[in-house]
């Protein structure tokens, strides 16, 4: 999985340098091939040096990584601000050249930190420069860079996850790549198409100034003022920013020291995969009673609920008539409601409106009576949660 990750990282760096060069440098195919080889060599060296970096004390390595990272961040931020603020073809060409060369150094030091954020960040800076060009190149660059970053992050995640749980990566690399690709590639494709369709234009460059080819005084030597200024600003701001961010980073790291938790990921013991019993079918729902029948049944259910709240629940084995006998009072409305319910629930004939009214009035009367004079509590009640109170069997 590490080889796959390194390959994706290389493709990202190559995409960034290549598209930035194509956008602003106008390189020949031979020069592009040269960059591809140089990047490959640099990354190969970086992987080789990673073995040596692992032998260095972790604390020292982190310090060096933080320092170099902050220096790089300062340089990149300044370069991008310059590129977005006052873009000229000359400045952009210069920045692409500087950052492409810097990319070689970043690749060599790729494994200094635990995560190669430097490579990703640097590549994205070059991608940003390429995107300033606009057009199909920018669309392809944005989509492809998103895809490559997503796939690298996915591979890196799976690799760390498996390593943390002491599982062999063999057999999981392809699956990890597939899972990452399934999530990332559609989005990346969408981004590429959307950018190409919706925002094909790049940054607006100033018109080139036509220099007068007339008399030039001898004491006035030609200067590349913008390039020199940019270079000076790059170096000074980079150093100052690096020092500042180093101390901020150090403070952040130290402030989080107490939060570490001990998580043990022991050597896994895995049993065989067994089939489990399918979930049991959901219990049959209450039948729906439309119309008059439904009104009568609902009225009776209200009586049962009211009686249960008052401490007199229906026992699972009790029929409707048995429950009415047990509850007792108020006798007349209770018997009327029960009888109408039995006819509605089990009878073949359609009920009349009078029946419904009788049941509802009876239910109201029973509930009112229970509220005023609660029945004696059923101390020996056996509650059967699985048995619904709505469907008592007929006597």
């Amino acid at each position: 999985m590490r080889v796959l990750g390194t390959t994706v990282l290389y493709l990202l760096a190559l995409l960034a340098v290549g598209t930035a060069q194509i956008a602003w440098g106008g390189p020949t195919p031979l020069a592009l091939a040269g960059w591809a080889i140089a990047l490959a060599v640099a990354l190969g060296l970086g992987e080789r040096f990673g073995v040596y970096f692992e032998t260095v004390d972790e604390k020292r390595r982190d310090k060096l990584a933080v320092f170099l990272g902050t220096l790089q961040l300062s340089v990149l931020a300044l370069a991008l601000v310059l590129a977005a603020g006052s873009p000229t073809p000359g400045l952009l060409r210069f920045l692409v050249g500087v950052l492409s060369g810097y990319a070689l150094l970043v690749l060599v030091l790729a494994r200094l930190a635990t995560q190669p954020r430097g490579v990703v960040g640097h590549s994205l800076a070059l991608v940003a420069l390429a995107c300033l060009k606009g057009g199909a190149l920018a669309a392809v660059t944005a989509g492809a860079s998103l895809a490559l970053i997503g796939m690298y992050v996915g591979l890196d995640h799976h690799s760390r996850l498996l390593a943390a749980h002491r599982l062999d990566e063999g057999g999981h690399a392809a699956r990890a790549l597939w899972r990452s690709a399934v999530l990332v590639l559609p989005v990346a494709l969408l981004v590429g198409v959307a950018v190409h369709r919706l925002a094909p234009r790049g940054v607006v460059l100033p018109e080139p100034v036509v220099e007068e080819q007339g008399y030039v005084p001898l004491d006035k030597t030609p200067q590349r003022e913008l390039d020199l200024q940019a270079l000076r600003a790059l170096v000074v701001t980079g150093v100052i920013g690096a020092v500042a961010v180093y101390f901020i980073g150090r403070w952040l790291v130290r402030s989080k020291r107490g939060e570490t938790r001990m998580i043990e990921t022991p050597e896994p013991l895995r049993g065989a995969v067994e089939r489990i019993r399918p979930p049991s079918r959901p219990a049959a729902r209450l039948p729906e009673y439309p119309g008059r029948r439904g009104r009568v049944v609902r009225a009776y259910l209200n009586v049962l609920r009211g009686a249960e709240r008052a401490g007199f629940p229906r026992r699972p084995h009790e029929t409707a008539d048995e429950f009415a006998d047990a509850l007792g009072e108020p006798r007349q409305p209770l018997l009327a409601t029960t009888d109408t319910f039995v006819r509605a629930r089990y009878g073949p004939f359609e009920l009349s409106d009078e029946d419904v009214l009788e049941a509802e009035r009876g239910a109201d009367a029973v509930l009112g009576h229970i509220a005023r004079r609660p029945p004696r509590r059923r101390a020996d009640t056996v509650r059967d949660v699985d048995t619904d109170v709505a469907a008592p069997s007929r006597r």
């Binding site: 991008l80 977005a84 995560q115 990703v120 960040g121 994205l124 940003a128 995107c131 300033l132 606009g134 920018a138 669309a139 660059t141 944005a142 860079s145 998103l146 970053i149 997503g150 992050v153 996915g154 890196d156 995640h157 799976h158 760390r160 996850l161 498996l162 943390a164 749980h165 599982l167 699956r175 990890a176 990452s180 999530l183 990346a188 969408l190 981004v191 959307a194 950018v195 919706l198 925002a199 094909p200 790049g202 940054v203 607006v204 001990m262 998580i263 043990e264 990921t265 022991p266 050597e267 896994p268 013991l269 895995r270 049993g271 065989a272 995969v273 067994e274 089939r275 489990i276 399918p278």
Partner: protein
């Protein structure tokens, strides 16, 4: 592995910067990149939650273990969904261990309606007591590892850690084995053993499987086989949980010593095949009636690890209450928390035990050698005198006795083969 992705914040910042740069410079591709990243984040968030759909986890572990034991905890990961589950992480908190969390990974694919048993080994690193195991949780990352969805199973299991039990060699030499050395494993009375005793006439209620057919044929009347009765040596521990014996803190406390000594006594007796019993009086009576087997031992050890020194009765009163439960030939081990005993009462209790053909032995934790917590300290001379008088009296009564002080770890002290002999020499 940490659940927070090392990439998410970084790439969020990068995407925000790209959006800013794109808006400032008018480069739509940079804005598109940022929007694409935002969409990716949303999809990842959803994917992490979808990965947990239908996944359940259940824990199976033994209810108890001894200190320093290594045990295996099984986590049954079940996929009740239709889609296969991949890269599911089950995390558990094993309270008796040192690690905050134990995490196991099922890389999958775990097909729908299938179960996989994952296990982790946990080292019981904490001291004896009752701990919780859980909560158990199951979680899943999205394919990029940017988000982690977790679902907790609010089931907490109680897990008992018993004190490290050591074999007490001195027990075999001095008293614990006396009931059976040389012991008759059976009694010459009708019982259920495998030792054949004879043949007698059939009585109503006899098991027909015991009919001795040759004898029945000879006598012309049904005859049955008879077997001798098993004799099981009984080892009873009387534990002193009187609050008067409280002293010291943590690992250097009388309770710690009492529990460790009692656990080792019960363990040794159990290993020897004795019937064991435990009697104590705390804020509630503790009675483990005579019995055998691991479950019985576990019940006795459970009472030890939840014991508190809240009793108001001395150990001699406890002996008085329960001695009638001991059959002749039993051994009674008195584990006392202090040397301050009523010696006359002690003599009466020992006499009563002897009258019932029960052999007593005593292991006394000297509370005076521990840091006093709820009373003023006792003068050293007085403490020594109390201890000397107790030892002398015990020897006079011919009761094997060992007095443990705070200067020696209880496991080391009770492991000595001459546990009871040293005290005799000291007094002499």
């Amino acid at each position: 592995m940490e659940e927070a992705s090392p990439w998410r914040r970084f790439l969020n910042a990068v995407a925000a910067l790209a959006a800013l740069l794109g808006v400032a410079s008018g480069a739509g591709a940079l804005v598109g990149f940022a929007v694409g990243w935002a969409v990716l984040l949303a999809l990842a968030w959803v994917a992490a939650r979808r990965g947990l759909r239908g996944v359940e986890v259940e824990r199976r572990l033994p209810a108890s273990a001894f200190e320093n034991d290594l045990l295996t905890v099984d986590l049954a990961l079940e996929n009740h969904g239709e889609a296969a589950a991949r890269f599911v992480v089950a995390s558990d908190v094993f309270g008796a261990g040192l690690a905050d969390r134990q995490s196991v990974l099922e890389p999958g694919p775990l097909p729908g309606l299938h179960r996989r048993l994952l296990s982790y080994r946990a080292f019981v690193a904490r001291q004896w007591g009752v701990y919780t195991v859980g909560p158990l949780s199951v979680g899943a990352f999205d394919p990029l590892g940017l988000f982690f969805a977790r679902r907790e199973v609010p089931k907490l299991d109680a897990f008992e850690v018993y004190p490290l039990a050591v074999e007490i060699e001195a027990l075999a030499a001095r008293g614990g084995r006396a009931t059976v050395a040389p012991r008759d494993v059976t009694a010459a009375a009708a019982g259920q053993s495998l030792l054949f005793r004879g043949v007698r006439e059939f009585h109503a209620g006899d098991d027909v499987r015991r009919i001795h057919w040759p004898a029945t044929a000879r006598r012309g009347a049904p005859m049955v086989r008879e077997y001798e009765r098993d004799l099981q040596p009984l080892f009873a521990v009387f534990l002193d949980l009187d609050r008067a014996g409280r002293a010291g803190l943590g690992r250097k406390s009388t309770l710690e010593y009492l529990v460790r000594v009692a656990a080792s006594l019960l363990w040794t007796a159990h290993r020897r095949g004795d019937v064991i019993a435990l009697f104590a009086e705390s804020d509630r009576p503790v009675t483990i009636s005579p019995g055998q087997g691991e479950a019985h031992l576990a019940a006795a050890l459970h009472e030890l690890v939840v014991a508190r020194q809240l009793g108001r009765e001395s150990i001699l009163d406890v002996v008085e209450h329960h001695r009638r439960l001991l059959p002749p030939g039993a051994t009674a081990a008195l584990v006392a928390s202090t040397t301050e005993m009523d010696l006359e009462h002690l003599a009466r209790a020992v006499g009563a035990l002897r009258a019932g053909a029960v052999r007593p032995l005593a292991i006394v934790v000297d509370a005076h050698t521990f840091t006093p917590v709820d009373r003023p300290p006792t003068a050293v001379e007085k403490a020594r005198e109390t201890r000397r008088r107790l030892e002398e009296r015990m020897i006079t009564l011919e009761v094997p006795v060992a007095v443990l002080g705070a200067d020696e770890a209880p496991e080391d002290a009770i492991r000595r083969p001459d546990l009871f002999a040293i005290r005799e020499e000291t007094v002499a």
